[in-house]
């Protein structure tokens, strides 16, 4: 399939699993909580093992294909390898493992490098699971809820959420549009691939100009349609889809607290 359709944002994978059915607020706050716990507990293999096991269990119950989850790690591959390499060569604790010319590798460095890498992996996993199991729209609802308390200090929570919803809504539309215009210009003999940098940038004009014009037109039309339906911001606005906590959320939070407590116990009491 064409390259455009492979660009997905927040790559939501629709499903009906327990994790999918959780309230988005629960999932958002839990992902936050998970990251907090990850940073508060002391770095150790047992601690990370507990959290990692929990993460795997969640992925399993959400029926997410493991390959797809791991693919989410691809963008941080460079950071991961850099973390490991830098720690291996710069931390000088533990026993000297071997010496390579002027580089000395200590056991502490290897341990530290891999621990930090594990922390990064867990960090990304928790957010991937969140975006894979929560539709972007539900996620924005949750973000609006979380941001609400900051309204007092002037944060336009509803407007921000509405902007995000609209942006998310229009990403596929614009991708489709871009693809259509691209094909139309290809049909007229346009060449987007060959030539030097300047020629290639110039060759994008026949794609970008119509795309921008149509984006502005759509924005205009949308504003008009919203006004025609009396949209006037978030004040006094009720929701069509009201978020409701269910028993599931209660069980989920119980599990979350139990796992965190265990991790803290291992980390500080032992």
């Amino acid at each position: 399939m064409s390259m455009m359709q492979q660009i997905t944002l927040g790559q939501y994978l629709p499903g009906k699993s327990v994790v999918h059915r959780l309230d988005p607020r629960t999932k958002l706050l839990m992902a936050f909580g998970f990251i907090m716990v990850l940073f508060i507990i002391t770095a150790g293999w047992v601690e990370y093992g507990i959290l990692g096991l929990a993460a795997l269990l969640i992925i399993y119950t959400a029926k997410l294909p493991l390959g797809m989850v791991l693919r989410g790690l691809r963008p941080i591959l460079i950071i991961l390898s850099l973390t490991i390499v830098l720690h291996i060569f710069s931390t000088r604790t533990g026993t000297l493992l071997f010496r390579l010319w002027f580089l000395e590798v200590y056991s502490g460095g290897v341990n530290q490098g891999f621990l930090l890498a594990a922390r990064l992996v867990l960090l990304v996993l928790s957010t991937s699971v969140l975006t894979l199991t929560t539709s972007p729209i539900a996620l924005t609802d949750a973000i609006e809820f979380v941001l609400k308390p900051f309204k007092r200090i002037g944060l336009p929570a509803h407007e921000l959420a509405m902007m995000m919803t609209i942006a998310l809504r229009f990403i596929p539309t614009l991708i489709e549009e871009a693809e259509r215009i691209m094909k139309a210009q290809l049909a007229r003999g346009a060449d987007f691939e060959s030539g030097g940098l300047i020629k290639r940038a110039k060759s994008l004009l026949p794609l970008l100009v119509p795309l921008f014009i149509s984006a502005f037109r759509r924005a205009d039309e949308l504003a008009m349609a919203m006004e025609a339906r009396c949209y006037r911001g978030g004040d006094g606005r009720t929701k069509f889809k009201v978020l409701r906590y269910t028993k599931l959320d209660f069980y989920a939070w119980t599990c979350f607290v139990a796992v965190s407590a265990l991790a803290f116990y291992v980390s500080y009491a032992l």
């Binding site: 399939m1 359709q5 994978l13 549009e177 259509r180 215009i181 094909k183 139309a184 210009q185 290809l186 049909a187 007229r188 003999g189 346009a190 060449d191 004009l205 026949p206 794609l207 100009v209 119509p210 014009i213 149509s214």
Partner: protein
Amino acid sequence: MPIKLEQVDFVYAGGSPFERAALKGINLSFLDGEFVGIIGQTGSGKSTLVQMLNGLLKPTRGTVTVNGLVTTAKGVKLKSLRQEVGLVFQFAEYQLFAETVAADVAFGPENQGVPASEIAERVDQALLNVGLPLEIKERSPFELSGGQMRRVAIAGVLAMNPKVLILDEPTAGLDPRGRDEILSRIRELHRQRGITVILVSHSMEDVARLVDRLVVIHGGQIVYDATPREVFAHGSSLKTYGLGVPQATEVLGLLKAKGWAVPEVALTLDEARQAIVRAYQLRRELA
């Protein structure tokens, strides 16, 4: 520029959960100088089919051969193929980008490497062919009306002098007058230059009036490929495909059900009128 499709399948987003077969086992060929209509419901695969014909989409299975070239073959020059097979997309006015109408129409021939002197000539010719006055050449395409923009976009493809012209719903969203004018221009072009025209349409009246051959596509498969007269004789099954018959045929059908001696199909209102007058006279004589 004969075009031949053999056992063509096309699958969107293959291998992902969103996989969808758009075309299934299509066998079809277009000969030189034909005027072919393609009709089908929204989502039936019409647009996918026409994009196969100039190599914008390549079949998942099967082969598309354009003038002896197989589009899926390695190292095939799709760019030159696209210059011979002009494709006007749906809502083509959204592809306009240049500062002036002339510059936009010239985009295609420029990409073809046509010399500048000839480009100016081709631009004028193309604008005249779609019935636009040459005064608008220096205006911005974005100042024009929707119908004029559509014509500029069609002129942009005509300026490439394609041997095959494919139009994907060229009249969608236009007023009746604009629609009739564009269609009659296309018919003229077909007659004068003898180019092959493939017209994708939602309007049964338009295809009945214009085309020599009609292809009906449903669920990614070809269900009819015959003359309009033969196709529209299958009114009831066309309805199950979410299509219909021209109003002229519809009226004759109603009369026939009441026992009038009229033929089953009329492609134009004129034809229907004559048939009804004849049947009326026959009834008078019998009475």
